[in-house]
Symmetry: C2
Subunit: 427 residues, 2 copies
Amino acid sequence: MSMTEHQSLTQVDQSARPSNFVNHERLNARLSEMAKIGATPGGGVNRAALTPEDAKAQLQLARWATDLGLFVTRDAIGNLFLRLEGTQPELLPVLSGSHIDSQPTGGKFDGIYGVIAALEAVQAIVESGCAVSRSVEVVAWVNEEGSRFAPSMMGSGVYAVLRSLDAALHLVDAEGVSVKAALQQLEPLFTSIPMRPMGLPIYRYIEAHIEQGPVLEKDGLEIGVVTGIQGKHTYKVTVTGEAAHAGTAPHKTRKDALLAAAGMVTALATELCDAQDITRFTVGRLNVYPNAPSVVPQEVVFSVDLRHPDRELLEQLSALVPEVCNRMAAPCSAHVERLYTAAPIEFDQRLQQNIEAAARDLGMTYRFMLSAAGHDAGPIQSKYPAGMIFVPSVSGITHNEAELTHPRDLTNGTQVLANVLWSLSME
Amino acid sequence: MSMTEHQSLTQVDQSARPSNFVNHERLNARLSEMAKIGATPGGGVNRAALTPEDAKAQLQLARWATDLGLFVTRDAIGNLFLRLEGTQPELLPVLSGSHIDSQPTGGKFDGIYGVIAALEAVQAIVESGCAVSRSVEVVAWVNEEGSRFAPSMMGSGVYAVLRSLDAALHLVDAEGVSVKAALQQLEPLFTSIPMRPMGLPIYRYIEAHIEQGPVLEKDGLEIGVVTGIQGKHTYKVTVTGEAAHAGTAPHKTRKDALLAAAGMVTALATELCDAQDITRFTVGRLNVYPNAPSVVPQEVVFSVDLRHPDRELLEQLSALVPEVCNRMAAPCSAHVERLYTAAPIEFDQRLQQNIEAAARDLGMTYRFMLSAAGHDAGPIQSKYPAGMIFVPSVSGITHNEAELTHPRDLTNGTQVLANVLWSLSME
């Protein structure tokens, strides 16, 4: 970001900045209202994609938007858009939002915060009296979690043409219900909302989200400027040995699958690391068969979760997984299967600077940081410049009914978002 | 064994030796008859201690013994005795037998072979016309397996005063039924069998048993002269770390319980071994919590099974278990709990020589060998001189419906047993 651009943001009348019109009570009241939809006894939410709860939340959002004078539309995969028309509607719009769906025992902030924050930011822009050149659209991407219809980030993935609409419509849930059938069943609820074409081009995309990690809280910071999403490869390693009697079988003839697996885990941990502690290597699941105290293990199956922000380094480290497992397998054998590949994503540099400048102008503390988890901004970044704003998660707890972000932090993130959206809308 | 003793065995008329009267067909027919009692669809037996099946097998044994003119008695814990009266009944008797009970999906030979072989050996002595000075008693020890009433070797343990009769009577099964109640329920079936005092002193005890391991088959040998039973210590190791997100938690702050456990398993395997491959160290069970691919393991619980024939070395090796686990625990913590302690048992030297001489005289191939598993001869050896004869197990399979010993091998063991019992009865 050049000095000129920075100054264009700071030179406006400070009192008229949209951030001043972010309404702390309204933001938190809307989040509380949303938390009632699919509320769980444990204080979280269960709002799976394309269920009546998901639709109910979309319709609530549409009502708030309509009251504010926004134009509400949907697309064929179920993404919902709330448009503040700019003075130059022919320009590509600025988008901001996140998702409404949750994990089965999800928290009250994951996803929905980014949607409500975007609505609040747009409302703050409206109430500030600042005109916008580009239209600003709030978006609620459908099925980010992937907990009902796998894989995740379905709505944003189809929007960014990372996957075909047709393939997405044919995904089925555990009961065999397709996305298409689920959409059709909810259709009567949405008759008053006009459809729009899939994947209309956009200018920029900004997503506010809770961090879902402990970094901001630990560092005592208010805002995370997200630089990207680290890449992730996962593996399933099967170690095959031979069952034998713990009392009789001599060690020189044993094929102990657990002993081989222990060697692999240790060697992988030693080799898949770096001095800067950037590489993330985890064996989180390990199962032994037959798992009896007096039987030499016949088979061990374990997971490998490997993450790194650098695409090339991730590939290099990932190639070590089968290499190390095979090297450490004797006298057993190892079968290494890649389950999942997500390349690292780097968010638009200038948007990172925009977010940093907005936080600094508001006197907030911030840091640049990677996202460990995937977000809708990932697929969007593959086609358009995108950026993300993180707010602190208490104890980093997420995908959990105990998920919490303090109201003050929710408002901080929304203030940064409001100013960034406004400044982008003027470009 | 001195040459004189050896010659006393070989100098008898070869044609009159009891081994010549061991009836191959009768031995195998009786084993087949016993296999029908508690037979499982998979070709094995399920004959838990003090069940109607166990009693039915005892009563069948008592009928065969009565037909042969043996005197049948029981004791207060349910051990059954079949006595061939010697010409000098005031001398301590020679005992031989094993157990009738089985694992839930047990084989047709484990235990019952030693009982039927002892009956056949006594019958061969009777039919050979060789008089016996000492009485010879066949014994069926109750509840060797311990699968219904834990712990195992109950009847022989009480007999040898390793545990109190009262404590044994108060053991309960999974349904809460006590040994005492189970005995009382079966009592009406045994009204015709007189009771005898607990733990009458004996002269020698010899037990024939299937090897339950692969050694004799691998070496192509017919008879195992058992030198002792290796000692066994078992542990439960709990490694406590801290759950964390696989994507966000830096490695330097992690407390990965699986990584620590893998280090312990590897270090234990390295330190609990010896050049002669005598030490038996096994981690057969290992459970990870929460066992999710994207969660750094919070806790790992694993078993340690350690066996060695030398008491002092076993103690030394065993002391390394908590030492190594604690040394390898950081940054987690380890809790190491000893679950089971069985000291090594060394069988009577002269009885080993008696068995060796009998096998050699019969032209059978044999070797001295340790037993990896516990047997009733163990408790008995703690009070009286005891010995064991092993016959080969096909592929070493045991505690399994597929358990098999070839009929020829069953007969070989019985022939050795018959000659050893006869020679002891003349001492």
